[in-house]
C-alpha cells in the first residue's frame, strides 16, 4: 500500500509540478512575476474539490462517460492556454527595451493570466484524483496512516523534481534560457492533446484504431523510466494514429503561436502614431 500510494501521488504531482515549473521560470525570468502562482493553485484546489465531490454524478453524464469528456475538455483547454501563453511571451518581448530590465506590458499580463488558468486546470485534474483516492481511505481507516505517509512522500518527491526543474531552467546559459522552456511547453501541449484524444477514444467519441506500434518490449510503461517519461512527455508504448496526430498538432500550435508572436507587427498605440 505504501509504495502504490507513493507512485500514484508522485505521478499526479509530477504532471502538475512540471507545468508550474516551466511557466513560473518564464514569468520570473521575463518580468519578475510570481504572484499569479498561488492564485492558480488555489483556484485549482477549489475546482479539484468540486470535481472530486461530484465525481459520481459527473461520471453518469453522456451515458456514463462524463468523466472522460470533462477530463478531455480540461486537457484541451490547458493546451490552448499554453498556446496563448507562448504567443503572449513572444509578443511581449517585442517591447523589451534591450537594457535587460523586465518590461511590464499587457502581453505579460496576458501570459500570467493564462498561466494561472493552465495551472488551475492541471491542479483540478490531478488534484481531484488524489482527493478521491485519499477520500476512500478516510472511509476505511485501516490503511489511512500508511496512505497518508506514502502520499506525502510521493508529493514531496514530485515537488522536489519540480523545484529542481525550475532552478535548472533559470540557470541555463542565456542562449537556451528562452527556447528550452518553449520547447517544453510544446511537449506539454502535445501531451495534453494526445491524452484528450485517449480519453475521447475511451468514451467511444473517437473511433478506436489499432496501435501504430508497440515499444513495450523495449520500454514498458510499467517501468520507472517508462512512468517518468509518461509524466514528463506523455510516453505511450502503444499510441494510436489519432494520439500521434494530436501530439504533433499540439507541438506545432505552440511553436507556430510563438513564431507569430515574435514576427507579427508590433502594435503602436494610436496616440504615438506619427502622421505619414
Amino acid at each position: 500500500m505504501l509504495l502504490s500510494s507513493v507512485i500514484l501521488v508522485l505521478q499526479d504531482t509530477l504532471e502538475a509540478a512540471l507545468l508550474v515549473s516551466i511557466l513560473l521560470a518564464i514569468s520570473y525570468q521575463q518580468w519578475n512575476r510570481v504572484v499569479w502562482l498561488p492564485f492558480g493553485i488555489f483556484a485549482g484546489m477549489v475546482l479539484a474539490f468540486l470535481y472530486a465531490s461530484n465525481m459520481s454524478e459527473i461520471s453518469e453524464w453522456f451515458d456514463y462517460v462524463g468523466q472522460e469528456i470533462v477530463n478531455a475538455s480540461l486537457q484541451i483547454l490547458t493546451a490552448l492556454l499554453i498556446v496563448v501563453c507562448t504567443w503572449a511571451l513572444f509578443k511581449s518581448r517585442q517591447f523589451d527595451a534591450g537594457d535587460g530590465q523586465p518590461q511590464k506590458n499587457r502581453f505579460a499580463s496576458l501570459f500570467v493570466f493564462c498561466a494561472a488558468g493552465a495551472v488551475a486546470l492541471a491542479v483540478t485534474r490531478e488534484g481531484s484524483e488524489v482527493l478521491i483516492y485519499l477520500g476512500g481511505f478516510f472511509q476505511q481507516k485501516e490503511y489511512l496512516q500508511t496512505i497518508v505517509a506514502g502520499s506525502s512522500i510521493g508529493f514531496s518527491i514530485g515537488l522536489s523534481i519540480g523545484i529542481l526543474l525550475y532552478y535548472g531552467l533559470l540557470s541555463l546559459p542565456s542562449k537556451w534560457r528562452l527556447n528550452t522552456p518553449v520547447i517544453l511547453m510544446a511537449l506539454v501541449a502535445g501531451n495534453m492533446l494526445s491524452q484528450a484524444v485517449l480519453q475521447l477514444t475511451q468514451a467511444d467519441w473517437i473511433s478506436s484504431t489499432r496501435a501504430l506500434w508497440d515499444t513495450s518490449d523495449w520500454l514498458s510503461e510499467n517501468s520507472i523510466l517508462g512512468q517518468s517519461l509518461y509524466a514528463l512527455v506523455g510516453y505511450e508504448a502503444t499510441p494510436s494514429a489519432a494520439q500521434l496526430i494530436a501530439y504533433i498538432v499540439g507541438m506545432l500550435l505552440v511553436l507556430a503561436s510563438g513564431t507569430v508572436g515574435k514576427y507579427s507587427k508590433k502594435h503602436i498605440p494610436a496616440t504615438r502614431r506619427t502622421p505619414s
Binding site: 461520471s59 484524483e129 478521491i132 476512500g136 472511509q139 505511450e236
Partner: protein
C-alpha cells in the same frame, strides 16, 4: 440536412464529412459486445475476461465497494476513476490477440485482472 448544405460546401469538406459519418454509423450499426465486471472487496469479478480480436468492446464496471477504485491498464491504455457504489462505462479494442493485464490503482495488491483477446 447534408443535402441542403451541399451547395455551400467546398469540394474537400464533403468527402471528409462522409468519412466521419461512415465511421460513426459503422460504430453504431455494429452491435458492440458488452462485458460486465464487478468490484467487490477490492477484487474484480470476473478477474479474467475473454474478448474477440479486432473488436470494440464496452466494459461496464460496477463498484460494489463503498470506497472508490481506479481501473487502470498500461497495456490497454485505459484509466478511469470509479466512485464507491457507482457504475462506469469504458470502451476497449479493437485489439490484436494477446494478454492485457489491468488493475485497481487504489488497491493494486488485490484488484488484479486481465483481458484475454483471442
Amino acid at each position: 440536412m447534408t443535402v441542403q448544405m451541399t451547395g455551400k460546401m467546398s469540394n474537400w469538406l464533403l468527402p471528409i464529412l462522409g468519412l466521419v459519418a461512415g465511421l460513426y454509423s459503422h460504430s453504431v450499426a455494429a452491435a458492440t459486445p458488452v462485458i460486465e465486471i464487478e468490484i467487490k472487496d477490492h477484487l474484480f469479478h470476473p478477474s479474467e475476461i475473454v474478448i474477440p480480436a479486432d473488436t470494440k468492446v464496452k466494459l461496464v464496471i460496477r463498484n460494489l465497494d463503498p470506497t472508490p477504485e481506479e481501473f487502470e491498464s498500461y497495456e490497454l491504455n485505459r484509466e478511469k476513476v470509479i466512485a464507491g457504489g457507482s457504475k462506469a462505462v469504458l470502451f476497449i479494442g479493437p485489439l490484436p490477440p494477446g494478454e492485457y493485464p489491468f488493475f485497481g490503482e487504489f488497491y493494486p495488491k488485490t484488484a488484479q485482472g486481465k483481458v484475454l483477446v483471442e
